[in-house]
């Protein structure tokens, strides 16, 4: 399909995304997820063709990162810039959990001329997503009371529950690798825990993956060592969704077995749910000694599972010995970025460029989330952009 054909097809769909925050993929209808993928694809084509899709003459996009991040930060900055927004960083005290009036007030104070707030808050279980909703309510009130001329949209750039911009970028990658969303039906995707010499990696990526891929008829194998479970509610939800979409979700505890006949593999480390719960309590109490101790226990436990490395032997057992390897990056690559890690060096190298391509969808996904939040009929606006035909560079 040409770009104009894609736009025309999009124009026929009614979007439910207008003026809605993007906080969890499973709060969105499948149609709305498809609309985001379509908008992202069209924006990507325009960029490649040198067309500028700038729709803001001015405006701010606030980045509120309560955690360090290079990749997501740059993706957010790229998406904002492409649409014409300037990024303004909000550097809050990162070690504290803000509530009540502080959140309410700050949300309004930064938003007098803001169009979007991108929030990353993944350190505390039970807090990140809640915080985003609290910000959202404060913005609702501010807009209703005439404090804000525009109700800024919120984009979840990673929370304790979901990492929707990552999961959607991953889905867009799969769509492109397999030709269509329809082709994903019946494919086996393995979301597997993997060994890492570090500790405390968030749960949001595996949860985001099972929470989204279960919508498209895939057979999901969720594999991890006993005791390394995710948030139970999310797993339950993913199971239900998988069933509804004609797929399945199976939990198992051997990486070796899980990988057999896989079409797609996503080996990635995370901390066990119950450890993250303890860690959250310790962080809340700023208990440094406790955190240090927990880290030692955790690393010692991890070390029992060094064989959870995605290596050549395991790869050979996947479909045609060539399952698509995925990772949100940076990966812990054995012999490259660490001694022993999530993935063997040669295996990673084989799929390295593909992981770059995978990451490359994220700026467009974020832009599409902003675009559909702001425009009721995204297809019509994209049509206007194409007609305007403003080039991005030069004359």
């Amino acid at each position: 399909m040409t770009t104009i054909e894609k736009i025309q097809s999009l124009q026929k769909l009614n979007s439910g995304l207008y003026k809605k925050d993007f906080l969890l993929t499973w709060e969105k209808t499948e149609k709305d997820l498809r609309i985001i993928l379509e908008v992202a694809a069209i924006l990507k084509e325009m960029r490649a063709q040198g067309i500028s899709p700038r729709v803001f003459d001015s405006g701010l996009a606030i980045s509120n990162f309560r955690d360090n991040s290079t990749r997501t930060r740059f993706s957010f900055a790229s998406a904002s810039n492409m649409l014409g927004l300037a990024v303004q960083d909000l550097d809050e005290e990162k070690s504290q959990i803000a509530h009540g009036e502080t959140v309410r007030e700050t949300a309004n104070m930064i938003s007098f001329m803001s169009d979007f707030i991108g929030i990353r808050d993944d350190m505390f279980l039970g807090e990140g997503n809640k915080y985003m909703r609290e910000v959202g309510e404060a913005l609702d009130e501010g807009f209703a009371q005439g404090v804000l001329p525009v109700r800024p949209g919120i984009v979840n750039l990673q929370c304790d529950i979901d990492h929707p911009t990552q999961a959607m970028a991953d889905l867009m990658h799969l769509q492109n690798e397999f030709g269509s969303l329809e082709n994903l039906k019946g494919k086996k995707i393995v979301m597997s825990w993997a060994y890492s010499p570090s500790y405390g990696k968030p749960l949001s990526v595996p949860q985001g993956i099972i929470g989204l891929m279960s919508r498209f008829g895939m057979n999901i194998e969720l594999a991890y060592p006993e005791g390394y479970g995710l948030i139970p509610d999310v797993v339950e939800l993913a199971k239900k969704q998988a069933k509804q979409s004609g797929g399945s979700l199976n939990v198992s505890h051997s990486m070796e077995d899980a990988m057999k006949d896989a079409d797609i593999v996503y080996p990635k480390s995370w901390a066990p749910y119950h450890i993250m719960q303890q860690r959250t309590e310790l962080l809340k109490n700023a208990d440094k000694a406790g955190l240090k101790e927990l880290e030692q226990v955790c690393l010692a436990n991890n070390a029992k599972y060094k064989n959870w490395e995605y290596d050549d032997a395991k790869m050979k057992t996947t479909k045609n010995g060539d399952a698509l390897y995925m990772h949100c990056l940076p990966a812990d690559i054995s012999g490259v970025s660490c001694k022993e890690g999530e993935v063997n060096g040669d295996v990673f190298e084989k799929y390295r460029i593909k992981t770059y391509l995978e990451a490359g969808y994220k700026p467009y996904i974020i832009a599409a989330m902003m675009f559909t939040n702001r425009f009721e009929k995204p297809g019509d606006v994209l049509k206007s952009i194409l007609d305007r035909n403003r080039i991005r560079v030069g004359f």
Copy 2:
């Protein structure tokens, strides 16, 4: 009045603001202050109507904050962005007072393509405003000598003496709450010290308030515990101005008495002038032990005045029991952001949204200061913007 009527009215006024830095409100004529309020109001209406008042195709606005700040930083970024300027932060050594060649050179080095420099420097008594003037002289020289293609304008984002963007935003709030500047004549405004569990809050807000509100015929009650005086020169000036404008300024030492029949109340903590003088000396000498000791003395002294909280009982004694409560935010709210503070929780809640509205004028005030610095006939340029009718978002 419609936007176009406001613009036509503005076009008849001769502005004295062109190419002038904005450092102290009392250096500006009343007409020029009114022009800034008018420009700010028109820019605010345009934003609300979705019209982009962008007048810079490119250009930099330098933010030079020698102190942490979220609110003012975002206001400056918002104003800059609305007009088409990109913000570039200058992160200087914050603990040192720069003078002479360092100031002269840095001012030029950052200004080759700058249009404005926003400076916040409120830590050292006798230094902040002086520093801004030193920067101004360096820019004058650089421009005269052909080093700079444009003489960047300076906006005082808070100094040791005044906080003009805050005071002007507060005045704009009063103008809107009471219908007009004329309606402020004869109104009683109480600028009162209030208890806070923290220490060393700058004097610039109360000084800015009495220095500006005394221009508009208001009856100012400046209340504080004995020993908590402001810079004497500023109080003298405000008294003189109050008399000239047909109002008055009275100093007293009981919050309870001061609040009686007030139309407007501004209860806010500050450090006593003589303490700020000692603190400045200690900061200059980097005397950490001395600073620690002074803080203890000061907090102990503050603690004697915990009854200087604006509470329900005091509110009831104001005009109709409903004086307009103002604050520059964040307030120390008893039972909310601290145990005992400047204002009772319920009282604050009653006026909470109004304080947000109050803060919301600041970006437009800053933009108006920039706009009138750059354009000799701001009314004519606003007319051109309206005629151009460029929308800010979409098509």
Copy 3:
């Protein structure tokens, strides 16, 4: 020549700069260096005339500073902004040398929507320039593999070997002071070490100066105390270039003798090459005690050469007692920014404004490097900009 005449003259030249990184001046032909000077001059004239040369409707310029910097940071931000790009800072771990997959991956992750990456990496001998080339190769791969829609250009904002934006700005200053590049032939320029109370200043400025000025028929006197040599390869290259261009390069060890009959003097401190080699090893090993010890040895050695100050007596021996004084700023000015330093206070004051003018060319040089990297026929694009006649401020 008028601006349009300059453009027409430029249109006749074939640029070799298209799609090429700018890493070392001596990798560029003399014609290409002249093209950059011409583009910079035209952009500077446009700015002065209020014409906006904005050619990017959106796009990012990444600033990757592995060292603190105000001047170069602002120059890069200014150049980017003038052309229409937003600056996004990459804050990497500054104390580590990244290699391999980390560099490769990060380079791609930040570049999905980037047009330029400005890198400053001057701390480690043998590393800075190498790092830039590694980033370049990663970008080449990413572009070839379809990861990146555009191959971002790299601008060397200072490395261990060269400081090309500084040297080119200095050359532009000389061109303007002496009327033309041709007039520089036969002129004596003294690049001299000078005393400084600080330690570890990089070699890139003196190396950049001798590496560039040797291309234009100048007679270079490189003066430093015995043991304070530069990277030998760069000195050899500069000697060869000087000979080819009809000039000369002579190394000597007395500031007093060197200054005699000089047309231009550039007295500036640097650390000896062999010390920088030791320092690099210590930094690599994070040997704090060793670094402290080396600093002491180095400062003690420096102290033997306090007479290497450019003072009135030495100035009097230069051509007409009035050689053009140059410095990259900030200078160590005796009695002003330090007790004893690189230059006498009165002497500096005499040329102070000239050093500001010298610095003022840098934003335009950087913009010209970007412009010629992106446009195959820079003259044609500049002609289009002039024809478009978009004003930068107002209507």
